[in-house]
Subunit: 363 residues, 2 copies
């Protein structure tokens, strides 16, 4: 599977779209957004450019991205007002893979523009210009020294590919019917995943270091873990249950087992130490902030929460799973998954774990 | 009708899409592209920036836009090679109204990138970065002083709205069932169209003058006419025949006449003098090149040519006409239109008339 071609959040505004099912991501972004906004203000104050240029990498097609951008624009606006300094113009680049539904973001731009104007307090000239940039953030996306601030939420845990190291010489998965690092996975699996993360995150840092101006800031929020061990229950549980749902369908003859042998999630939830190590190794950035955030998922109603979580994961995973098991089997798969999730949530709390890191481009 | 919301070339890659039906535009762009490329080289040489920033305004969703951009990149690359100067990076902004099918352009970016690399002769670092910018070019789209070169092909003849001056106090069209300036139109119609062109083209020039760096260049290709009179057969014939097709459907009771009273094309084909007058009036640009290009449309096979031309006009007009006569009536309308076109093309040549203008931003 070519992840760059296949991976995208479910487009449009329908019931199973990412736009309608990204409230979990929004809740976390809201909880951490002061860190992101502060980093953006720092980036602005370092250079006080006449046009502040920022990028949201992996913006997807919901309203989360535009909401945070609105907050950043308003915060910088306010700061300039306090200091009786002229408000800059803003150039905002929204990036995601080419298969992302950019059309629906673009149609919402005009609403966003008018909403922004309503919250401004004065008439002095300032403007927010927007552009969409399709492409993988594991390569270059922008000209050299062209950005002051980069933000990425809920995207960097997606690897550029399924780690090649999990397959044996015959091209078969050595991950014993699991789809991510699991207790029953041989140690080579965790190693393969970690190596892929190192390669990808290293490429990400290198590309961004060329695109950011000196003293530019980068605020990243991604799935992570608070343990040294790669197999951490909180990070892996959702994948365990998805693997179990797939196994149930194989056992009942609803899907073939062979194709599935090829499917492993192109995902990695790093520890803070792993993140820090790559930053040091790449060498262009200093760490300004590095922390794990945890919060429980759900409202307490296990049946409802299981269904909501299943739909949320579906909006993220559907494009990739379709590639393996076909479009017809998707409804059934997520029905089983929803039931397994509800079952678990009746017994215990499911926690979401995110790493947040703010980096400063060294001069 | 809110033109900004409704107008867009037909998206996707289907049989009636703009992508499949823009060969007439391509033929003209090919004929005039040396003028555009020379203007881009001049813009580059004026400042020799490390990153050359250019925009295609009204790019639509076919391959025409990317093809010309490839030519510009290669021409500047070659010029740098001759002068043993380092090739710049390129930042390309593709703009169109928010309803345009950006998704299909974005998916073709990666092909474009690889095609470009194949024609390069050496490995030295240079890159072409791309972004999509949704919005009306009758307002601001980019930060101040942020572009070196602006190009627009086959878009500026679209007005921001149907001229309000063609309606009487009861809101009825005074254009006697015509949909553009016609021999039977009262003089107030041509005046209303000309005023709307002045307002729109003036806003266009003002916005661009703020976005272009000093000495930046702008190359514009749009429908035009080579006569002083606003009713010029070559510019108006296609609209005459479309109006006649609509009248046939009204006469046969296939569509209602009332709604149609509201439909006039938000289009204007200016003369060179009218273009020049607005440039002088706005005051930020000097004219470097100004010319009318004419070429016959079609291969000589009237039946085939009529059908091809009808499909081409359909790709452009479908979104607006649907708004008035409904989606069901469209096939029938363009069937009648195709026959009328073939009939005319059997008797005479249809010419397409374009104005091309190159402007330089004064220091």
């Amino acid at each position: 599977m070519d992840v760059e071609t296949v991976l995208h959040m479910k487009g449009g505004l329908g019931e199973t779209s990412y736009a309608q099912n990204s409230s979990i991501q929004k809740k976390f972004t809201d909880g951490m957004k002061h860190v992101v906004i502060d980093a953006a203000i720092d980036a602005y104050l370092s250079e006080t450019p006449r046009c502040f240029k920022m990028a949201d990498l992996g913006c997807s097609s919901g309203t989360n991205a535009l909401s945070l951008i609105g907050d950043i624009v308003n915060a910088i606006d306010e700061r300039c007002h306090e200091k009786t300094r002229q408000v800059p113009q803003f150039m905002v680049f929204l990036n995601d893979l080419p298969g992302n539904d950019f059309n629906s973001i673009f149609i919402s731009f005009s609403d966003f523009g008018s909403r922004l104007k309503n919250v401004r307090r004065r008439d002095e000239f300032h403007s927010v210009f927007m552009a969409g940039v399709p492409g993988s953030f594991y390569g270059r996306l922008f000209p050299s020294n062209s950005l002051h601030f980069i933000h990425s939420s809920h995207s960097l845990h997606w690897l550029s590919q399924v780690p090649p190291g999990i397959f044996n010489e015959e091209g078969k998965s050595m991950n014993s019917r699991k789809i991510y690092i699991s207790k029953t996975s041989p140690p080579s699996i965790a190693k393969a995943y970690h190596q892929q993360f190192q390669k990808d995150f290293g490429s990400f840092l290198k590309s961004r270091s060329e695109e950011l101006v000196s003293e530019g800031r980068m605020a990243l929020i991604m799935s992570g873990r608070d343990t040294k061990e790669p197999c951490n229950k909180m990070t892996t549980l959702l994948w365990e249950l998805l693997a179990r749902s797939l196994s149930i369908m194989v056992a009942q003859g609803e899907i073939g087992g062979e194709d599935l042998e090829l499917y492993n999630a192109p995902f990695y939830g790093p520890s803070l130490r792993e993140i820090e190590y790559e930053v040091l190794r790449e060498g262009s950035f200093t760490v300004e902030y590095l922390k794990i955030f945890k919060d429980k998922v759900g409202s307490g109603d296990a049946k409802k929460d299981g269904a909501a979580l299943a739909t949320a994961i579906r909006a993220i995973q559907e494009s990739m799973l379709c590639h393996y098991i076909g479009r017809e089997a998707i409804d059934r798969l997520f029905h089983i998954y929803s039931e397994l999730l509800s079952e678990v949530m009746q017994k215990e709390e499911i926690m979401a774990v995110y790493a947040i890191v703010v980096l400063r481009r060294s001069p």
